[in-house]
Symmetry: C2
Subunit: 385 residues, 2 copies
Amino acid sequence: MKHETPALFIDRSRIRQNYLDLKKALPPFRIAYAIKSNSHPEIIEILKKEGSHFETASIAEIEKLLAMGIKAEEIVLSNPVKAPTAIARALDHGVTIQSFDSVEELEKFKPYATAGSPFDGAQGDKKLPAIRPQLRIVVPNEGSMWPLSGKFGADEELWPAIFQYMKDNEIPLDGVTFHPGSQCETIAGWDSALYLTWRCIEIAREYGLNPTTINIGGGFPVDLGRKIPTPTAIGKVVLRHLKEWEKKGFKPTDLIVEPGRFISGSAGYLASRVVGVARREKTWAFLDCGVFTGMMETIDGISYPMLFSSTAEKETAMLCGPSCDSVDKMYEAQIPKARPGDAVLFLSAGAYTSVYASEFNGFLGPKMVFLDEVKDPKNLFELIA
Amino acid sequence: MKHETPALFIDRSRIRQNYLDLKKALPPFRIAYAIKSNSHPEIIEILKKEGSHFETASIAEIEKLLAMGIKAEEIVLSNPVKAPTAIARALDHGVTIQSFDSVEELEKFKPYATAGSPFDGAQGDKKLPAIRPQLRIVVPNEGSMWPLSGKFGADEELWPAIFQYMKDNEIPLDGVTFHPGSQCETIAGWDSALYLTWRCIEIAREYGLNPTTINIGGGFPVDLGRKIPTPTAIGKVVLRHLKEWEKKGFKPTDLIVEPGRFISGSAGYLASRVVGVARREKTWAFLDCGVFTGMMETIDGISYPMLFSSTAEKETAMLCGPSCDSVDKMYEAQIPKARPGDAVLFLSAGAYTSVYASEFNGFLGPKMVFLDEVKDPKNLFELIA
């Protein structure tokens, strides 16, 4: 069967292998797949079978997972800022691990510091379980393509006020969490983050708080054509810190890692066709996928490794999408002299593509097609219409 | 009935009035509403009743309109670069006015230069009507927030090659079209574009081509808090050019204008609530709508006039969306000291908002709510849950 473009081919075995590779690199950790990167039920099913847990940011994501038979204790809610009703609804579902990064968010956590608070949405006398607050700290996002700090995370200066508030209001600090930034391409990102995490634990203890959960977030990179650290190399740094902590008498009882791109990114191949070319000052190659049909990260600077059906001599072309919007421009690349019908395969494109797609201008996002195994990506050209 | 936020309220009477205002400013023109700006069927129905025509960029948009009973001759396909099959399918539907801006696109038009070409998709001996090619020229996008040129449009240097190709291949030049750029805030945009249009007609005539359709695109601005020209003022400039052309013996037989934002933008009010606040180096106000739930143009620099439910003292806050994505940041603004639950109303937000929304991270785009008339936007606060 041939598939219309744009199509996003997903290699099932690669999803599984990515999970196992990370598990091997970080044996004591629970892997909570960040479903925001690609929330297709089939990916969730594959990971569920391997024993994966899941990271969410919204009630809709939580309810999607619960409906698929995933247990509440296998779900973490790592969005540091939530609507007050979202906090209560998540607890009502049994999702207790919830992040925060401000006193303002703690004010919303306060009613749920111990088990037993009622929730308007609950049936009868159902009482909510106690929340397990995770402090999201700011870490240097060096080496990350998309630094996350600024929007999220409390830095060291804010910790005393936060811990004082927790102490005064008897809110336990269950854990500390950070995110080195998406597609973090240097090990230093994790190393510095873990030193800061330890510093945070020490200060928390001064306030009588005893965090026991450590969540190292995501950030594990995929191949975008540059040198990147392996999960094993990253794991080594992380495990070294854990050992040092143990020597100091600290052994976390719950360790979590939240890969998104690392699991779904490299498993995805986005197949597209050239619909037209305009040779002007620049050469513009118009594809049937663009910023609004999955390639949104390109406006933030990502460029994907690519394969081409054509073997023509290469030229520099500005890749753009099919819509009439001026924003719908991707990036300049060396591609075989483009003609309508030429196929382009974007590699490492399984994450943050289909989930960003809208139906703007009547152009639909990529149809997802699952394959047992992609041995040679070039063979995918034969699968497209 | 109270509506959950985010909600996009649309004022039906304003949609109608915007259409009538433009009709009054440009009496000899057919108004072809650019449905990409907001493709909700109810907006299309309102405009259809007023006699509006429609501008499209894709087969999906064309088929949506046809299914709503709009006639093919009331539809223009203004996307200058289309898949070869899209050109034929549009013709098969009877949509003959199609744009181009390169010799490469003309090569695709060639089989349809005269009526009678067969189309694989057509039933039996059905033959396709002749195409009406519209040359999209580059015009200076001065004063536009989103300059369009670069991606689309042929500049003067390219016209001779294009016209020679048309002459050699007996492809008629039906019309000339331009776009001054979205949200064009200066009259000079239209003035210079029309001088260029005339220059293009003169050169076309040297090749024996006789365009009779003029399509002045969109670009009519809405109130974003700055001084903008009225449709009447823009119309005056356009009509002056038409008169000058008439003196020179040129009277177009088909005049088209393609407003999008101007029709749907000012009719829309996006209601959102603060879900959380984090006071750090900056104050971050987290709303239940953001970049992925409709406010995508903010990453390209738009900021909307706003109304607030709170009367607290104002502070500077970075407005951001509810997702865990670092890209989900809107802009900094003076807003009343934010608390969870505060309502914010974004004005002039009917265009390029709902159509850009994805379901990223489980957060849905704004629900659209139609109202007969919005006399005082402040009253909308009473309509939200």
